[in-house]
């Protein structure tokens, strides 16, 4: 396993593993962004923020 020819160094991940890690980060960022967008809309409506 350690001499897997698909592994890329310095991290030792394969391209497929790197894409999997990245997909989780993208998903998390989208969920975070959606919640933040809703929160900002609620604050804009209920406070004098943004005038």
């Amino acid at each position: 396993m350690s001499n897997d020819p698909d592994k890329v160094w310095p991290t030792g991940l394969t391209l497929k593993e790197a894409e999997e890690v990245h997909s989780y980060i993208i998903d998390g960022t989208r969920v975070f962004g959606l919640i933040a967008l809703i929160a900002h809309i609620l604050v804009a409506v209920s406070t004098p923020w943004l005038g």
């Binding site: 890329v8 790197a18 894409e19 890690v21």
Partner: protein
């Protein structure tokens, strides 16, 4: 997928905490900066609404006589009467 090859160079055990930490510190700094500049946040925190108690003041000015005095009961058994004149 765009940019996914960065995880071939940056170890996720370093890169992910760094990314999340940057988001946390950045958003905290922005919120602190905004809330320390606006005037309505301290009013709201101290229970005066978001317009510095202007609504209450204008209510009192419209007709002080129609506003009943407020009676506050203190835990030691005494009470205090706070009239509209006292508020102003």
């Amino acid at each position: 997928m765009n940019n996914s090859k960065m995880w071939l160079v940056v170890n996720p055990t370093v890169g992910i905490p760094l990314f999340l930490g940057a988001v946390a510190v950045g958003s905290f700094a922005v919120h602190l900066a905004v809330l320390s500049k606006v005037t309505w946040f301290n009013d709201w925190l101290s229970g005066q609404g978001m317009n510095g108690g202007a609504a209450v003041t204008s209510m009192l000015n419209e007709g002080d006589a129609t506003i009943p005095a407020q009676v506050y009961f203190v835990p030691d058994g005494t009470s205090a009467v706070l009239s509209a004149a006292t508020w102003l």
